[in-house]
């Protein structure tokens, strides 16, 4: 993974334009150093991991298998999805309604019942944030249909 990041970063660093104002190091100078540094560290880490597998492979395998990573990813992915949906709808329905939907979605996703109390808390929360940021602090939050 780190090697892929280093390679990708190096690839984009090689596409950095040059300027008549450029110094000796250049705009791409340190990015090249960083990508090569990361690639070097990634290789040593990979080597270290391989050696550990060779020496302690059987012992560590059982402990590594214990957490269900896919289940963890799926649960965390739900939270991220709520965030992405917020980004997609906030300019359509406006900040207040989008935030209300986020609060309700989060509450239900995390196991709260769909009852009057939950809905009321979401309404109060969205109203509080709207008042604080939009009214009190004067932040121009997205309105309905502001895309």
């Amino acid at each position: 993974m780190l090697l892929i990041i280093a390679a990708g970063y190096y690839f984009f660093a090689s596409g950095i334009g040059t300027s008549a104002l450029a110094d000796e190091v250049g705009a791409a100078g340190l990015p090249f150093v960083y990508s090569l540094g990361l690639a070097g560290v990634a290789l040593v880490l990979a080597l270290q991991t391989m050696l550990r597998w060779l020496v302690l492979g059987a012992q560590e395998k059982s402990s590594e298998d214990s957490p269900n990573f896919w289940l963890m990813f799926r649960r965390a992915g739900g939270i991220l999805t709520i965030g992405i949906v917020y980004l997609l709808i906030v300019n359509i329905v406006g900040y207040l309604i989008a935030l209300l939907l986020v609060l309700m979605a989060m509450l239900f996703y995390l196991g709260e019942k769909f009852d009057r109390k939950t809905v009321l808390v979401a309404f109060i929360g969205a109203g509080f944030f709207w008042f604080l940021f939009d009214r009190l602090l004067g932040i121009p939050t997205p309105g309905i249909g502001s895309f």
Partner: protein, 502 residues
């Protein structure tokens, strides 16, 4: 004596006390909301100050700065979200204490240390403005580069179990810091045609993503939520024994905060991390750091609150703003026809005395307002898990949007959160990444400026006395941390061998 009488007459003849208290309260609110940085909190007040008396206007802005620097620690401790960049170091042990049900104690220590830092910083500002100002002027690009390296040297001791993973994490942070316009030529790098990236990625976005969003993802990913046991709901101030223990880290934080504060551009973040690192180095309870150490809160909190006052030294002495907040304060001075420099002290002595008096009131009111609002904050974070997580998510969306009115920033925070979640799973430490993001620009821009000055000769870094000193100190830090690591590894290995024999 005359200054004291002028200050006293300002207190009784003007609403200076109320203005200072209002500034601190507003600052704490701004600092506690992720995304509303001290500079934004101050900028929001700037239009109000146009019609005000110059003394009151400057006090309002300065008190807001003091309040905001402290306010950043509240969400850092309670919800793992640094309200300001400088509060990132407080997260390390503050949130750990909160997880252990010691949130009230952590908040008490941060308030106590913050107030000490505010008083110490004010004393330094009053007593040492002129000599400290000379230090600020002596800093060359080479010295800034060396200062950045000194900050990065902390990575060696913040890398957790694997130094290699820490290095990789730091390199990732340095890579993020290269996004945006090149500091020398202005060529855009890694922006992929997005104008939002031309100014780079703000460190606060990376911090909120790595700390707060990834924590939300982690909590959502486990079926059973670890609810803190024996949660203390009351604010708990350190007792005599604890105060004695906190003295050393507070002293370290005060000294580092004073030095970093007067250097334009260094700022509270480097001061906080360096103080944390030094407090750990000199502590008798090293193993507690990272697992809920009171000293791990005291050192960075004292440092960043000291910086809030000493950062005014270059502003008042030379009109050099070392940070966005200082730039806004400078704007406040200029709006009222007050030109910073030595003549400011001679021609507008009443403004300076008023500022000092206002900062004194701000330091006192920091304590009073903190005592009033912190129990409420404690109650709020002890609500049921689903409610707490939903509200934190909503707060992140709202706070991050308010930085630049940009939804793209929220997308970046979500991306950083996902990256942070992956880093948690594979055991990569966050802090080196944060340091890389914070210091990357400082290191690169000053490294290249220095080479432009020297015509490409690296010897310039060793010819500048401040740069040389800082490089030697950084080298010693790294050597010390590496030897401590090596010794700990050797000891652990010995223990394992002994256990296997038994």
């Amino acid at each position: 004596m005359e200054a004291i009488s002028v200050g006293f007459s300002l207190l009784i003849s003007t609403p200076l006390i109320f203005v200072a208290i209002a500034g601190v309260a507003w600052g704490i609110l701004g600092g506690a909301l992720p995304g509303i940085s001290p500079s934004i909190a101050m900028a929001l007040l700037l239009p109000l100050t146009y019609g005000m008396d110059p003394v009151l206007a400057i006090v309002l802005l300065a008190a807001t700065y003091v309040g905001a620097e402290y306010g950043g620690s509240i969400p850092a401790i309670l919800i793992n979200t640094p309200g300001t960049n400088a509060a990132a170091a407080t997260v390390l042990d503050g949130y750990e204490m909160q997880r252990q049900g010691r949130g009230g104690e952590a908040l008490g220590i941060s308030l106590y240390s913050g107030v000490i830092g505010a008083f110490f910083g004010l004393a330094m500002l009053m007593l040492l403005t002129r000599p400290l100002a000379e230090v600020a002027l002596a800093f060359t690009p080479m010295a800034y580069f060396a200062l950045g390296l000194l900050g990065l040297s902390v990575i060696v001791s913040l890398s957790g179990e694997s130094l290699l993973k820490g290095l990789a994490a730091a390199l990732l942070g340095l890579m993020v810091a290269t996004v945006g316009s090149d500091p020398i030529s202005g060529v855009s790098r890694f922006t992929f045609g997005r104008p939002e990236l031309l100014d780079g990625v703000a460190p606060i976005l990376v911090m909120v993503g790595l700390f707060a969003v990834s924590e939300l993802l982690r909590q959502a990913s486990v079926s059973v939520w670890e609810k803190p046991k024996n949660t203390v709901m009351n604010l708990k101030f350190p007792n005599g024994k604890m105060r004695k223990r906190l003295f050393k880290p507070q002293l370290i934080g005060s000294i580092i905060g004073t030095i970093e504060g007067v250097i334009p551009g260094a700022g509270g973040t480097i001061a906080a991390f360096m103080s944390y690192n030094e407090a750990r180095r000199w502590s008798r309870f090293k193993s507690e750091f990272g697992h809920g150490s009171p000293e791990g809160i005291a050192a960075p909190e004292t440092a960043n609150n000291t910086v809030a006052a000493t950062a005014l030294v270059p502003v008042l002495s030379f009109g050099i703003p070392g940070s966005n907040s200082a730039a806004i304060l400078l704007g406040g001075l200029l709006v009222h026809g007050l030109l910073p420099g030595p003549r400011l002290f001679e021609e507008n002595g009443d403004v300076i005395i008023g500022l000092y008096t206002g900062l004194l009131i701000a330091a006192i009111s920091l304590f009073v307002i903190g005592m009033l609002i912190l129990p409420v904050c404690l109650w709020l974070v002890n609500r049921p898990r689903a409610y707490l997580m939903a509200f934190i998510y909503a707060l992140i969306f709202s706070g991050i949007y308010s930085i630049d009115n940009s939804l793209f920033d929220i997308a970046l925070v979500l991306g950083a959160g996902a990256a942070g979640f992956l880093m948690r799973l594979v055991g990569f430490p966050f802090l080196p990444t944060v340091l890389g993001v914070v210091l990357g620009y400082l290191v690169e821009s000053n490294y290249r400026r220095s080479l432009v000055l020297s015509g490409g000769d690296h010897a310039i870094f060793f010819n500048d006395p401040i740069s040389l000193t800082l490089l030697i100190v950084a080298g010693l830090f790294i050597a010390g941390s590496l030897s401590t690591r090596a010794w700990l590894t050797y000891r652990n290995l010995q223990t394992k061998i002994l256990e296997n024999k038994v």
